[in-house]
Amino acid sequence: MAHPTESVSLQDKNYFLVRRLHSLLGLVPVGAFLCVHLLTNATILAPGEAGGEFQKSIERIHALGPLLVPVEVVFIFLPLLFHSLLGFQIVFNSQSNAQQYRYGSNLRYTAQRTTGILAFLFIFYHIWQMHWFGKPVGGGAFELHGAAGAATGAMTTAVAIQQAWWIAPVYAIGVLSCVFHLANGLWTSLITWGITIRPESQRVAGYVCAAFGLVLAIAGMGALSGFRTFDVKSPPPVVTDGHADVTSHGH
């Protein structure tokens, strides 16, 4: 990198640290968060009252109260931003040749960069659509509680997913991109950190990472189909007090 700018030379000076931080942050906390997030969302499929188990899960997360925002910023948004920005630099510095050399590992190399970009775009859209950060610009659909304490987590999510026909396919592509990027990133990180060295150990790690990715993909797609088929017309389940009927009367 021959750019004489200050930021680049600062990066060059801490090259190893910056690049290893990129690898580490992709796994923990970002990758770990993805696992928790998809498994939590998969509770929408739990038997019993529709969305009841999901509501319990998200209320456990929101029990952090005022600490939730700093936790989100420090453990999710900032690491994600760092990982993404450096990731874009890595993508721009690469020159894919998957057409010419069609080896499995080379196709995964290109896929890692493609899914990274797709995941970034999707997460941007997803945060706008669901997180209250998006409220000032027309997003922020997710609500933990409606009026009078009605449990609306599953309901608001399902309404947002079912708003248009293209949203669920976009989610499928986005979630699968994230899952592939994490599972393949886990495989390459084992090489980066020098844990798997011989081709045999890398092959075994490949099977383990593929199985890990498959479980996450099933959880993610299960959650998506759960919200896609969630009955948005039935009244939301009641959690704290018994006035859920008030909200359904109001509309």
Binding site: D12, Y15, F16, S96, N106, Y109, T188, G194, I197
Partner: protein
């Protein structure tokens, strides 16, 4: 009944003139290799459309896949012209052969490229054992057969350029030194005398263009004509730089 096949070559008269392509019709005979084909063209440089041309410039030296000089891209795959047997190459592409110079190095003329970048990378990682000097250094330390078995495959590298040609991370935008130099750093770090410069090599591997710029496409190990376990070396470089930086951080 004489068969023939077409060889299409990407040519360039000098580093600054434009690329162009020329096709030559070569009478088939069994046991040809790419180098003999280029010799046939030099003997009668007449293109397929009967125009008089010039011999195609190419590098070659050992003619037995030891020196790496005749490395070029044949039918989209980087390899040595001397060991590219035409019978095999024709099977891949049904009667036509496409030849280009390596794309990651500046072209000198036709198929001749300047691989200086690779040798500069070897200098950066100090890919040698320090034994120069007028004073008597005594005999070197003994090397166990086990260590020899690990080192020998790495020592077969001829700096031909196949690994960097196929590497998506080795390009103008990226500072990556390439798999060959990483592997040579690991080779000389394993040498009992070469170990003296171990930390200096690891410092380079941890810096810009070092091991962090590997993208794990693993093309290098698949195109390496000498079957060098390049990805083993790369993973070892990852491990060694991790441990080195930990030691450095915690004051060894």
């Amino acid at each position: 009944m004489s068969k023939s096949f077409t060889v299409t070559i990407q040519r360039q008269d000098d580093p600054h003139s434009p690329k162009y392509s020329e096709s030559f019709e070569i009478p088939y005979e069994p046991g040809l290799n790419m180098t003999t084909v280029l010799q046939r063209i030099a003997a009668t440089p007449v293109t397929s459309d009967n125009k008089s041309s010039t011999p195609v410039a190419y590098d070659s030296c050992c003619l037995e896949e030891i020196c790496g000089a005749c490395t070029m891209v044949i039918n989209g795959r980087v390899r040595q012209a001397c060991s590219a047997l035409i019978d095999n190459v024709l099977e891949e592409s049904a009667g036509a052969i496409d030849v280009k110079p390596m794309s990651k190095f500046p072209v000198v003329r036709d198929l001749v490229v300047n691989r200086k970048a690779m040798f500069e990378s070897l200098k950066r990682v100090k890919a040698w054992v320090k034994v120069d000097g007028y004073h008597d250094l005594g005999s070197g330390p003994r090397v166990s057969p086990h260590e020899q078995e690990d080192a020998y495959p790495l020592s077969k590298c001829m700096t031909c350029g196949c690994c960097v040609e196929a590497c998506p991370q080795f390009n103008d935008k990226s500072p990556f030194i390439g798999p060959a130099a990483v592997s040579q750093a690991i080779l000389f770090n394993a040498n009992p005398t070469g170990k003296i410069d171990r930390d200096e090599r690891l410092e380079v591997l941890a810096g810009p263009g070092g091991i962090a710029d590997c993208g794990n496409s693993q093309n290098c190990v698949k195109v390496c004509p000498k079957d060098i376990p390049l990805t083993d070396s790369i993973a070892k470089a990852g491990r060694d730089t991790t441990l080195y930086k930990f030691r450095q951080f915690f004051g060894r």
